[in-house]
Subunit: 414 residues, 2 copies
Amino acid sequence: MTTTQALLDSLLEHKSAINLATTGQKNQALEAMANQLEEQIDAILAANKLDMRAAKDSAISSVMLERLLLNEERVKDMAAGIRALIALPDPIGLVLEETTAANGMKISKRSIPFGLIGMIYESRPNVTSDVAALAIKSGNAVILRGGKEAFHSAQAIVTALKSGLSQAGIAPEVVELVQDTSRTSATELMTAKGKIDLLVPRGGAGLIHAVVENATVPVIETGTGICHVYVDKDADVAKALSIVVNAKTSRPSVCNSAEVLLVHEDIAKTFLPILEAHLAGQVELRADQPALSLFERAVPAGEDDFDTEFLDYILAVKVVKGVEEAVAHIGQHSTGHSEAIVTENDQAAHIFTQSVDSAAVYVNVSTRFTDGGQFGLGCELGISTQKMHARGPMGLREMTTYKYIITGDGQIRI
Amino acid sequence: MTTTQALLDSLLEHKSAINLATTGQKNQALEAMANQLEEQIDAILAANKLDMRAAKDSAISSVMLERLLLNEERVKDMAAGIRALIALPDPIGLVLEETTAANGMKISKRSIPFGLIGMIYESRPNVTSDVAALAIKSGNAVILRGGKEAFHSAQAIVTALKSGLSQAGIAPEVVELVQDTSRTSATELMTAKGKIDLLVPRGGAGLIHAVVENATVPVIETGTGICHVYVDKDADVAKALSIVVNAKTSRPSVCNSAEVLLVHEDIAKTFLPILEAHLAGQVELRADQPALSLFERAVPAGEDDFDTEFLDYILAVKVVKGVEEAVAHIGQHSTGHSEAIVTENDQAAHIFTQSVDSAAVYVNVSTRFTDGGQFGLGCELGISTQKMHARGPMGLREMTTYKYIITGDGQIRI
């Protein structure tokens, strides 16, 4: 087993092979990586079977099993995801700005890769290929540290991707999977100062908080979503119903699903009973006092229910006096991910979009759209909930930084 | 005395007054702030006298005294600096990207202020007005925590700036100076999670490291500069001489001055004796063995001399075999601030600019130009030495983030 430190040292030694690669080289590598995923599909599915068997033995939840599972279609989707990146423009080497100073020196601001990106994630095998492909297209070396449940699958996927890199003439040492899935390796990545240029944790709130709290390398916080839908007094009830049902029930386990419904007091009497009828016992409603009286089978909301990412068929419901109170509540309780207002009133929409301080703010649209694919980024590195560097879905551009190159003929500063 | 916590709470309460201000309102405020600095010049100079007297009593270095000193001209320069920002474009409210998805929803990515920016700095009084003015133009509330040596000066400056804000109809509570200059207040800012959106330390290496290590709020690391000049075998000797002398001696106390000279072995014999003659005893040369033999009065470089920001008339000198060794040395020892190559060889210049991983990479230009003013940003918030979010001199744009506003008519995700 290669130790994590040895992998880091090897990545530093080889990273320039991808940091300085041309667009053509990178796209060739992506094509070869996609081909190799398909060619090595048997090995990948066999490895996945090992992971699935171990997962079943350890009585993992059916949601986790579903995430972990690979089949022919899913591997082909991974390959298609890689090929989709080929068509996207290269984010590296762009001249972002260029000026010539009065003394004749030319100041050119150019986009460059970070260098080495680290990713700590959990059980979904497609994250392995998505992130490796995003790294290659954006010119970054990458060190992947997946969850132990998916280790064999990730290993087989990385083996295929490395074959593709070799075929395309790029050192396969620019993509590495950490071999040790204990906590130690996560800590080693978090503290690899001067080696890892950017570390992204992707997974549950516990994992993300641990990384944000303990890392000494630059981190982008992702994913935790306590998302709100506010139904204004001037909402179209049909749209409100459809958006709340979609935001809550279409995929409750993901970060862009809604956890909290805020409803204007003037429309609560009309809207809440209709909503309850449509949710038809599928969703547990946890309501504040005014809302409670309008539901038939809700339970009183507890102290923490407005600060919890349920990731389940549970919705906290609160009645508010207007858009200002909704904005204030969101300011206090949101994780800064995605929030929606449903209204036909332009002024209410304006106040909401101006004042809600989250990565994605929706007017008459479900929060479920906050996603790299939906935003046109191909796949995504993760969804940033911080304000520094990147916000919302992160794609190729968010994996770049820049430098200034200044050329002259002997200019000195007087 | 208002406590730091009370100031933070007040800033949160009032920040929307500046976060949502229009370009016209912000420019009016800047004009009034500049006017008030000039109108209150007597009070500012009187306050500065108090600081200067206390500084002299505590036997502070002449460099520090020079930094602390205000006079009529310097206050007028501060006002002029604020007025210069009026002419720059507003970085807020820009539509950075806009697309309409296949389902008809419009996705608009817009630049917005961070919200509340914190700055921890030391004794130069103009930082107080520069940073407050940058904050106002970029729509941010700001909490300033200056050094205790400059407290009275900073207080008088902030009083004037607040008068300007009031006159322009913007709540003066959006710019605050921390009243407590003990360590406690710095710690309070570093840990004001959920309140301060971005914290920038500006000053000595000790201050910056303390903030980077201990902050739980987002921080941008600034300023420490172990800057290198590499004189290639194909250098024009006259340019090399002029650049090295300028980079080392024009202002040794600032972060963009050079600390290390790397020189190609083929040119060392010619160049180093000429350099020594020109530095004429003004600069202490600390040389590796090969360089030592070419100087008359150098001392042997110690272990730490290639990892020290001298900020003084000291230069570490090392002979290298070529541009690759220079790049490797810089990769190991640089703080990622500014590095220069002197060469007439395009290929050497290309290797250097591609492979050196610093914020500013110069070809035949002195490192001393890494500066917000020189790069056309007006004044600067600081010089970032990190790769995330911002690199090099930070101006208005680097004080912004963005959000996605998505508008539709009931779109849900299927």
